[in-house]
Point group: C3
Chain length 395, copies 3
């Protein structure tokens, strides 16, 4: 195929990919408050440390993508400068900015993980209000456990109390999530702990919490307990894997470390959703091919790799069957992240799949079908979005 006809077919495929009403199966709320320049910059990096004075976070793939793709949504020229962009953002006000960026993303359904500073963000209801689209909840296991301790429990009662609160909190949820990657690493013992071990660990935790006034759960016995109670809950279980903020040790976030857990969880029928995965997304693709209960996405990385996201998406389309790959943005805070998560994914898919078609490897029909599977259908099936929320998978 010559250059010109390749471009034409990419444009035509782009229209079809653009028409998919995406399911963002792992996202957080948009921020409903205006942001200073410093505040905005802090939210377009995974760093939790001060930005050095001699640099700006806008000088990054994600920063360039904001200036390229979000500026026109706010009525500015593409590739504007940060000052102009942020001034315009302030001028429009966060409500209008959110409305524009969220609706232009073409996301049709949000699964909102509320467990990380969720009180600062729009909740599922707020996301629906801003977009007119359904938004449902993913419940973070560690946050539930910390809530149980903050509300008051004793060691002997912790396990039962956690289970009761988890079921109550997830009554209308679509899934649960664990951040064991952050709190310990994915190299946890895959076996569920005994009740005696859990009670002993809960006792240590309660004493520590009393001593420090902080209720962060990071004991591997408790983290394993949360995971296995999450499996028992029967909803799809999301794992943070791969890249994130420096609170994690990336060497301990390779999803291959979950092998034992995946094998032990397989009989439960619970779908295990590996999130982000970068730079281990090829490993995730292997797991998704060989284990029927494993799914994955390259959310987060798509935003942060910007102009390079097509390469990352391409690498995610290797070993995994297409029924096992999902779309997510992992956006948290500025609605730019929600917008770009969808937009860059569509551009990346269009780029990669139109290349397959131009090379004569795939048919155009296959390309559209796979984009629809990954963008929406797989999530609709795994999370049973046509049915009532909160319903566990059949064994």
């Amino acid at each position: 195929m010559t250059g010109a006809s390749t471009v034409l077919s990419a444009e035509s495929l782009g229209r079809d990919v653009g028409a998919v009403a995406l399911v963002d199966h792992h996202v957080h709320g948009a921020l409903a408050t205006d942001l200073s320049r410093r505040g905005f910059e802090e939210l377009i990096t995974e760093s939790d440390r001060p930005t050095p004075s001699w640099m700006t976070q806008f000088d990054s793939q994600l920063g360039f993508a904001v200036l390229r793709h979000c500026a026109p949504v706010l009525g500015l020229e593409a590739h504007t400068d940060p000052e102009t962009y942020l001034a315009r953002r302030t001028e429009l006000g966060v409500e209008e900015v959110n409305r524009r960026l969220l609706t232009a993303s073409g996301v049709g359904h949000f699964l909102v993980e509320t467990g990380y500073r969720g009180e600062e963000l729009l909740g599922p209801a707020g996301m629906t209000e801003a977009t007119g689209r359904p938004a449902e909840e993913i419940v973070r296991l560690e946050t539930v456990a910390e809530h149980v301790v903050a509300e008051g429990t004793d060691a002997a009662g912790f396990s039962a109390r956690f289970e009761a609160v988890l079921w109550e909190r997830s009554r209308t949820a679509r899934g649960v999530k664990t951040v064991v990657a952050y709190r310990h690493g994915l190299d946890v013992d895959p076996e569920p702990p005994t009740l005696g071990e859990v009670t002993a660990a809960a006792g240590r935790w309660l004493r520590e919490a009393e001593r420090t006034g902080s209720v962060r759960v990071d004991d591997p016995v408790l983290l394993r307990h949360l995971i296995w109670k999450g499996v028992e809950r029967g909803l799809p279980l999301q794992f943070h894997t791969g890249y994130g903020d420096p609170d994690l040790d990336l060497r301990r976030c390779d999803p291959l470390l979950l092998r034992g857990l995946i094998e032990r969880a397989q009989p439960s029928g619970v779908p295990l959703m590996l999130l982000h995965c970068y730079p281990f997304h090829r490993n995730a693709g292997f797991l998704a091919q060989v284990y029927p209960n494993v799914y994955f996405d390259v959310g987060l990385a798509v935003n942060h790799t910007g102009a390079r996201s097509a390469a990352v998406v391409a690498e995610s389309l290797e070993l995994a069957p297409f029924a096992k790959i999902l779309f997510s943005s992992d956006a948290w805070g500025p609605a730019e992240l929600h917008h770009l998560g969808a937009l860059l994914w569509r551009r990346a898919m269009t780029h990669v799949l139109s290349g397959f078609v131009a090379d004569g490897e795939w048919s155009r029909t296959q390309a559209v079908r796979v984009a629809t599977m990954i963008g929406a259908e797989n999530a609709r099936r795994v999370y049973r979005l046509e049915g009532e929320p909160g319903v566990t998978v059949p064994r």
Copy 2:
């Protein structure tokens, strides 16, 4: 170079790459029996678990490649659907399907590893009969050891008996192979065990075999013994590395784990052939650059990555000298895998090398020469295919 002339030069290079009579230096036999849809699907994935009812293995890079490239060989349109494809396959019969797919692959010489369920497949003689091309054997070390135990030996006699049977079994072989990656992981102690250690381990194995009725060898002492006896045998020694079925722990299949073994084996002059390697193929390229006795391929991954195989092949063309890279399909069972292993490799090489030429980095002459080295010449030299089989390397 403009788009149109790039396409022309790729076509011309593709003809030259297509004309290379490939040596498939690691392949298994084709299946001589007809396959049900379920049976076929099970053989186009590395998963050993049931395919979930809501998906088909045809929705994968390998599935799409079958429908794209094998359908025309069976007289169907490219990108046909699975039902039509499998109906046509049945209509033609496996013998005709094998004949068509195997001969159209343009493989000129097969090195057939017979150690995994070899009795269900065409052996080297059957492969020659189906194709008219020479097919010779690669002997799996673990299968020989298990045969020795199944036939009856005592612990004290195991080592000598294994050695004798290995030499007898490999009298006309071209190489030997180890699956230590599956049976333990590549993180074995690189030292050969003592005879006392081997005898003790053989005793434990014999008791276990008697107790369970199964003779699978997975004791690391015995696996190391097999490897070092394989080195002593003096034929090229193949290692499964990287990706495979979920019986392996991919974290323990990184070829970098073989460093100690590679260094200790270097004085023997035995070529160590790292198979598959994905997703660690860049690590394999490093080993192939720095150790004179290391070679590698990206077989298996080429088939399973389909439209993305050009990217994998490209990544294999980084650090390694071109004299140290080989072609293989690792096909097992359906002749589609033998066919695609060759076809996708040729397309990938053509794509990548014509890109190097179009970018002005390589000459066309260099591109054809390197394709010929990797596709055939390197294997002909390493396995001494011009000479008698079964002859050990000179120290």
Copy 3:
């Protein structure tokens, strides 16, 4: 954008990238003596072992790049053969070859690491003489320590003596470097050792040196001490990471292993420069995003991946802010390596960035700015090249 206009814009961008006066922030001297064919081949591979008789190191990406890009600088046709190339090299003489290749590289400033067989190479002064461009020194910590022991010290005096000599040796240096990756692996205890531990380790080392007549430092206690004294020195601290010769175990050279050290060093304000990084450059990009004190390059890999270097450079442009990426060649010996380090980097950046522009993701202005940052400005800022050498960073 159609094929033809893409090519035009790449050419135009290439002129701007070509005009950047690069800072090669990690390079060794050029060799001032003529080379035999064998000698030349040994220096275009990282292998330290004899090249097998049936192959040539010219059959590699780096070998092809020499014949493609260096041949015209010596007045030969591109893609000439090795014999012709080396004959011409001898005919011109090493002085003329060095002059041509070094000046044609367009490097404007060399930071020369002198610690590895530096006496065989041009030093900073010699590099300036050959090129007319400033060349300043990077001091290798391990070499200083070995010099201290070779000159004579006792265990109790080692630490103070090392510190004194380090400050004297680095009085006009631009940075220091550690090869802990080679001598132990990056998996060292991140804590500085106590003086008692250092003295004890120095005692062991002195006894070993006396016994063997060799003063190689590889005790992890001492290596950690050198690193932390290097941090105290206050100049940018370079780490070899990733790929190198087989003296290193690549599994232990993943820069992610430096996490503890990076975190402990952050308050010092000392820039940590991760060199080479391949094949872990995506991990390095993660560290450069999340830690303000981390920088990295893909030097060495650019040369050794030749026609594939654009892919490696592209992968380095993912997570890291553009202010945290640098250019280096890591050339050692033949001036071809200095030349190609710069030339291939410029070609790769042009290829990758013009792709971003053609895809509509970046503006042309952004592309030129980022190339200038990575090629020169970041190094000028980090190493304070506008100011006096040898001055420590402010806390």
